[in-house]
């Protein structure tokens, strides 16, 4: 008899997801899907609000990567008021560095949460361990010392965020053209040296390194299982600087294939020329893809695995991460790595990378300077802005327009988890075939394998379901004679 298996809800992720697997009479997998079952609608309801409130409102999309949304929005507003990166009148170094500090700290805490609270228990206990055990509670019972370190590491990241944004979650720091506060020496020293139970930065780096080693050890012991688990081909996308190295805060969007050949590279302001999004009846999450390549070939992967695939190297100023990245690159001998569970490896590397970046940044005296906001000169207002950052889960883009009176008339958001939609569905299918295909008896643990595959992407289904759409706007370009030369719907 044909069967339908469901996972409802997908757990240890943020947001609401569901998996359905259809097996035929011979227990072959006919279909397997990840459904995102939630819909919110930020792009619509931000309209009409004053533009300077947008980064405050839109960061409510996500409780874990709100910093990314806040900064992405802030960058779009920089553009809008005429002081965006590349405009010639850019925000001041202190502002950029304070923003970066918050951004790296978020990457540290977000990755740590996903990695230590959701992934590590599965590595230590096995993915078919009792569902009651393979989580942070089980970890508390098995290794309370490890949990204490994990808690301390996450706490430290959150305290950096609080220092920058005033709150651990949904705080404020960025305003159009800059930031509203700098980092005092007291605040800096507290984070560097640690006090009242807070870790020192060196301890943070140490714990990050230990965390990476958990993966290394696990991988050593389970090489075959880990490497063969859902090897899913996809293009990889990341923001990179001029040297082709990842820059979490700013850069151009680069997309590479398996051979690390660049298949597309764009200024993010042009994203609409490159991306389309398909809709399916069975999920609220859309399916973005590169127009030129079509939906099947043009779906990209974003996030830690994509970034470590795309980046050429890390700077020598982050030596431990640099070495870890080289070990990662060596493992696939220069090819892009498509092994889903290696995303966790990449994530652990990025925790270390963030920690080292923060240490470097905290020592920068620019953080204490008090020129915080670049006021836009008369006439600089553009009324439109695009912002992009590498959020923990991948490339995040915000695009707004506002009218002269100051209210938002249009907002479009392309979030990382949405970018990963197709790849996640491929992963679900692949794991389902490998673990369930042909099996008469199916256990909970086998089903959990599918979730393990999804969790590798650390999908933020909350983020992905912000969508409610946006007003189409016809942009007409007239030549000097007033003749219509181009018209497109944006």
């Amino acid at each position: 008899m044909s069967r339908k298996l469901v996972i409802d809800p997908v757990t240890k992720v943020e947001g609401h997801g569901k998996v359905t697997v259809h097996l035929d009479d011979n227990n072959r997998v006919v279909d397997a899907k990840l459904h995102v079952v939630e819909f919110r609608g930020f792009e619509k309801f931000v309209q009409g609000h004053p533009f300077w409130e947008a980064p405050m409102l839109l960061q409510r999309i996500c409780g874990i990567c709100f910093v990314s949304h806040h900064l992405c929005g802030a960058k779009a507003l920089d553009d809008m008021v005429g002081v965006g990166l590349g405009s010639g009148i850019e925000i001041l170094p202190t502002a950029e560095k304070v923003r970066r500090l918050g951004h790296y700290a978020q990457q540290l805490q977000s990755h740590s949460t996903a990695y230590f609270y959701c992934v590590v228990p599965e590595m230590l206990f096995g993915m078919d361990a009792p569902p009651e055990q393979r989580n942070i509670l089980g970890l508390v019972e098995a290794d309370p010392e490890l949990v204490k370190r994990v808690v301390a590491l996450r706490k430290w990241g959150q305290e950096v965020i609080k220092t920058v944004f005033g709150k651990r979650m949904h705080g404020i720091n960025s305003v159009p053209g800059g930031v509203n506060k700098n980092i005092s020496t007291t605040e800096r020293d507290r984070l560097l040296n640690g006090e009242d139970g807070l870790l020192s930065i060196d301890k943070v780096i140490k714990y990050a390194q230990d965390g990476l080693n958990i993966f290394h050890e696990f991988h050593e012991k389970n090489r075959k299982e880990v490497d063969s688990f859902a090897e899913v081909p996809a293009l990889n996308m990341s923001l990179v600087d001029d040297d082709g190295n990842v820059d979490y805060y700013h850069g151009k969007m680069r997309i590479i294939d398996k051979d690390k050949t660049i298949v597309a590279e764009m200024d993010y302001h042009d994203y609409l020329d490159h991306f389309s999004e398909a809709t399916e009846e069975w999920s609220y999450m859309k399916f973005p893809f590169l127009k030129d390549l079509g939906r099947e070939a043009g779906s990209v992967r974003v996030g830690p695995l994509a970034r470590v695939n795309v980046t050429k190297a890390y700077s020598a100023s982050t030596p431990l991460a640099k070495a870890a990245l080289e070990r990662f690159h060596d493992y696939t001998k220069g090819k892009a790595n498509d092994m889903t569970l290696h995303t966790n490896w990449a994530r652990a590397i990025e925790i270390l990378h963030s920690a080292e970046l923060i240490k470097e940044l905290l020592k920068d005296p620019d953080l204490q300077k008090d020129q915080l906001v670049m006021s836009p000169p008369e006439g600089a207002w553009t009324g439109e802005g695009v912002g992009v950052v590498e959020a923990p889960r991948g490339t995040l883009l915000h695009h707004y327009r506002a009218c002269e009176e100051g209210n938002i008339t249009f907002a479009n958001l392309v979030v990382a988890t949405t970018q990963n939609n197709t790849v996640m569905n491929r992963t679900v299918r692949s794991v389902a075939e490998d673990y369930l295909g042909g099996k008469a008896e199916i256990t909970e643990g086998m089903m959990n394998a599918i979730e393990v595959g999804i969790r590798a992407y650390d999908p933020c289904l909350s983020c992905a379901t912000h969508a409610m759409g946006q007003m189409p706007l016809v942009v007409s370009v007239f030549d000097s004679e007033g003749v219509l030369v181009d018209e497109r719907v944006r």
Binding site: T20, V37, R60, L137
Partner: protein
């Protein structure tokens, strides 16, 4: 969404590896807590983790059953406390909230979304039709000439006409405002309840943003 057909099986109904009985027995002696995020940003659940070291203090007395932090998909036995984040924005949220109300002695609305709908409730001044239209039909990234599609399928829950605060759907016992409430605030409330003290959130810990 929960139209269970004869041959549909949920993963949590399948045979799972059993827990070590002694570990399970130790857990059973604790105060049982279930947690859920409905329509929100998951921030309150993460804020729960923001209680830092106190998490370990709390876990000495408390066992967490269904939660997005575990893989327990349904409340397995009666719980003393249900921790509810997020407002009600779809059919599944309603059913989940009913499940929580039926299985928890005390339900707490945690955070702005649970308390009054929060940021997602901002869609309440737009019609659902307009929302869906703009998201899936009039989007600037919509695929040209694609078949007209909006999500509507047996495997995904229907979206509710409006977003509702939890207590307008089922009875809620306590409320912790905030977007999100601080970890310390959440700890204060849970610690009080776990130790048999009255719910008491001082003005200094109360915040709406």
């Amino acid at each position: 969404m929960s139209t269970t057909t004869k041959n549909e099986v949920a993963s949590h109904e399948l045979k799972a590896t059993p827990m070590d009985p002694s570990v399970q027995a130790a857990r059973d002696e604790k105060i049982q807590v279930a947690m859920i995020g409905l329509c929100g940003c998951w921030g309150c659940t993460l804020s729960f983790l923001d209680m830092d070291e106190n998490l370990l203090v709390l876990l000495e007395k408390v066992n967490i059953t269904r939660s997005s932090l575990t893989d327990i998909k349904r409340i397995p036995h009666r719980c003393a406390i249900g921790f509810v984040e997020g407002g009600v924005a779809n059919e599944e949220n309603i059913e989940t909230l009913e499940h929580f109300r039926e299985n928890c002695d005390v339900l707490i609305s945690v955070g702005a979304c649970a308390v009054w709908g929060g940021v997602p409730a901002m869609r309440n001044d737009v019609s659902l039709e307009d929302c869906l239209k703009e998201a899936y039909i009039a989007s600037p990234t919509a695929v040209p000439q694609a078949k007209l599609t909006i999500p509507y399928h047996e495997d995904i829950p229907r979206i509710t006409t409006k977003v509702y605060p939890c207590h307008e759907v089922v009875k809620m016992d306590y409320f912790i405002p905030g977007c999100p409430p601080d970890g310390a605030t959440i700890f204060k409330v849970l610690d009080d309840l776990v130790n048999g003290r009255e719910f008491d959130l001082p003005a200094s810990m109360n915040r709406y943003d």
